[in-house]
Symmetry: D2
């Protein structure tokens, strides 16, 4: 069985996903595309070397009889509309983050999916598909360090442009930790607070950088996350879990160890695109497998997308108030239990 | 285009390759199988869930009109015959190591392929497809440490059974280094000598273990390789290259770093199957891609298989004589130049 | 010149210092001892093999004409009295931590010393004499990572007895970080808050463990320190400094790297006594050198002891209130500027 | 008791030892000096700030009634004469390496010392006093990896001057491994061979660099040692011991780990003087303690100096012949058993 896919939005990430779904993964074929720029879209699929029907209107693509499933990689504010339309059409849909730009929008999707009665939505959070995070989760699940008590995470970028604003540290950057840590710990957040350390001289005048976000969870775990988007030295994702009997850490990406120039050294990635590139393959393959088996057991659900949005809202509020802000999430509906 | 593949030999490695070619890789389908045990063969493909024609005779499979390419995973001594038959049939063939059990047999295949006029043969040496060896080769090719001068390698297994004999340290174990180091250094061996250190008390009485094999190359590089197949602690593959300006080493497989029980530690693999499991996927995908593009640019050629056999013969002789034994390889024919 | 020393308090640490001052360091001699247990004191010096006069009254020892300098290693609550008496006698005094059990007591010593007009007091904070902390400080002072912005520290013990109470995490444990981080950063604290993560099941019912103490400094640096005194796995002191252009960390104590039993591993200390044992030698030698040169340039001053006490008071308050508690330290008097 | 020492030879290493013996170590005092350059010698001791009698003739210094022990740091070819004279005077003598420039010279000293009937000679091999080698030896002695089977060692220098010749790789460089590995393994060498890998372009035309020396021992251990004196990247001393159940390695010198400039890195020493500087202190303190206790239990004996010379002779011969050269050492006399 080959899953016939329609892709909405053929920008950079859209094109990468088309490439994956056409050339690298098993069981999928891109048969339809939509974009606001028809010429660019057609050029892109030609370059990739596939034959896909162009739709000027995304809703026509969603409804097309030869399209089995939808991939939404358009501009963020359009996600909600297209995901809801896909659910209405009863078709599986993979939506790049964010699922919706507001928690309310995410909730609307959750409600629609529950009403539909069967899971259809996978959200594009790729970190749980990354092999190093999976190794770390296995360590926790195998009780290698006892119950987790506290975490120390880093999300460091070498630098950002002037358009990057203080709240983007949450909604664009921390959002990945907000997703992956729920999955890692099988837990939900209860509060967030933000502390601003001494500001780096490398950041724009309008940007607080670095920032520390401290989250607490239902199990009482405290998560200390540092966001530092002008750290200069590299793209560095760290996650250390302190448990009752030991510490487990996210493995570093594999690099050649050198002895040269007076140093024992190995490279830290600078380009973020390389860090999780393999995870995107696994993530999209999981989407196809979910469709083929008829069972959405892998990947972030609409509920996960909603949970990330609720947590992000509280973190942004905490950025502004300086207070401990509550994160109020209802219990996971049985519909979404794994 | 889907490459239709016939697999000769459906033992453990054969079944793994059938699984890969059917379920994991892009562009291939297993349509035919042969084995000396018909029942076991049929059971295996049923379990994998594919529909493949059973051939009682391997030569019928090779000639079958719906078989585009052959994968040989039968008993070693049969390889030569089936590879030669595949060449005679003008069909691409992937042959697990060894290409033939003698250097003369390998040479016969080389001659047949050259006579055929187009490359058809890929030998199942998987290490050049391993991502850590590729990172190391990139480092050398990017001149990170200048010209390589000497290497230190380890091929350690936790333990072997009583049937493992001293010469198997060369033909079963070192054979992988003999292949991958030629590729890594883009060089050929000129001599080998073997030194037996103090013997471990963990080895059978008939087995010399560990052994040190010292190879020299045309470029003058000296390679010190330790084979230790009862090292107890793990399956450990190491490769360190000392260059004119620095040292580069094979990265360790990714593992979670722990602090626990009075140690800062991370696991060393014990099961060899896990070490290069991803490399098998890349290797077989390269075989399919070679067929699709009509150009055997990737993977070990028949010439590489021949070179490994010639070097192994010299190493075995060196085991017996204690002398420096010459390794005489003609220059690579242009037919095999990459 | 040999400095003749009188030691007040000949318990465990007192005996170790007597041993050092008599047998290991250059330029000192223990000539007088005092303890509440005369027999034990005399036995101790006999065992060490020195000839020292026993004084039943510490004040007599302080005033003795053949005693050039005092070392106070008696019970904490007595420190203030003996240090003040030493200053009154115009004699250099090395006092184990705490300088006094209250900040007010420390302040009294500061005032007395300033009034005396010349520095006489060194407080027994040994970490700034530890070679790994010194390497880290050199890295910062050499501008290897730009201005420090935030720190992550750990003070982990394998386990503590039932008598260890929640406030001891500050006054007995964190007190070392409170001293060494001021020195490392050349900065003063402005606030403290305490967060209690999920409690380990390994701690006594009355003990909050682990604890997170977050300090802020005049320069705006945020310090995240984890205290975990039942971490099970070892005695682990960590200090990571995130600067504007990189991260520098406290080196791990030197240990043999092993490959054994399926792990790549090296030991983490379990016994805290071994971690800073060399630092004690350097610290006491500095005391002797300070006396010989007549210039107290090295080691913690009475002011440093006072600063640690003020910070500890705020941390204990923060443990109780859950609030951000201000740490109010006057500017360092020029008398104590280094 | 203070040991009064006379130092013969006040060049660089002589001055360093005078400094140590006068200012840093316990129980010694330099009271006499001799050098071929009187002015320089006097200037040196003035700078160090001690009052020592200058002797124009070394033999007068050796015989001086207020000199308890001799330290020989003069030009290598003079060592034998001064050590023999010290033995004749019945005085303890510390002699920098080499003990004598020929094995025969070393043997003469051994014979004289045995005839004297009591150990007096300590040779200046400092590596057994280095804390990292001691940690490695402890690991072996504690049976952490079972019986040692083979070793891989490196002695790398960043660069050498034009006056450095191929044989100096043995007599100046490898000599330290020849000493420390006998001590580490409690074993004696039986043979040596030398292999010359591809030569680095960074070496003088007359120098073979790098070189591999392969030693075998009475226990059958094979030692692979690489000497590379123009390795460019640092002063790097490595020692890896493969045992029956695991591998133990010499710890790296402690350095701050950094994340900076796209690398995870820590420094490798470039200046060899820093690598074993602490070991010199321990070594000389052991000499003083040996004298005080009247029992030469620590440090390299004249026999050890002789053994290193015999092994070095065989290695130099192996450099020239390309053959496996026997190293013939008589059993250690009971006089020298530890």
């Amino acid at each position: 069985m080959t899953v016939r896919i329609g892709v909405i939005g053929t920008g950079a990430i859209g094109q990468e996903h088309i490439q994956r779904l056409s050339k690298k993964l098993v069981g999928s074929q891109v048969v339809a595309i939509n974009d606001i720029n028809e010429t660019a879209a057609k050029t892109a699929v030609n370059r990739i070397g596939i034959d896909a029907q162009f739709y000027a209107n995304a809703h026509d693509l969603i409804k097309a009889s030869d399209v089995d499933a939808i991939v939404v990689t358009s501009w963020g504010p359009t996600h909600e509309e297209f995901v809801l339309a896909s659910i209405a059409a009863g078709k599986p849909v993979f939506c790049e983050k964010p699922l919706a730009v507001t928690a309310a929008g995410c909730k609307k999707i959750v409600d629609a999916e529950i009403k539909h009665g069967k899971r259809l939505v996978q959200v594009g959070f790729m970190r749980p598909f990354d092999s190093t995070y999976r190794q770390l989760k296995s360590a926790l699940d195998n009780d290698e360090i006892g119950q987790p008590l506290l975490l120390n995470c880093k999300h460091f970028n070498p630098e950002v442009g002037d358009s990057y604003t203080t709240d983007m540290a949450i909604v664009d950057t921390l959002i990945h930790e907000l997703d992956v840590l729920r999955w890692l710990l099988d837990d939900d957040y209860t509060s967030a607070r933000v502390i601003y350390p001494r500001k780096t001289s490398k950041a724009s005048s309008h940007l607080m950088d670095p920032q520390i976000v401290i989250l607490e969870t239902k199990k009482g775990i405290v998560i200390n996350t540092e966001i530092f988007v002008n750290c200069q030295y590299g793209y560095d994702i760290q996650c250390e879990v302190v448990g009752e009997t030991g510490i487990a850490s996210l493995p570093e990406p594999t690099q050649v160890p050198f002895r040269k120039g007076g140093n024992l050294q190995r490279a830290i990635l600078v380009d973020w695109k390389k860090r999780f590139i393999d995870a995107y393959d696994v993530e999209l393959q999981a989407f196809i497998n979910n469709i083929v088996t008829g069972n959405f057991t892998e990947g972030a659900s609409a509920w996960d997308g909603y949970a990330a949005a609720v947590a992000a809202d509280a973190c942004v509020k905490a950025q502004q108030t300086g207070n401990v802000e509550a994160i109020v999430m209802p219990a996971t509906p049985s519909f979404y239990k794994k």
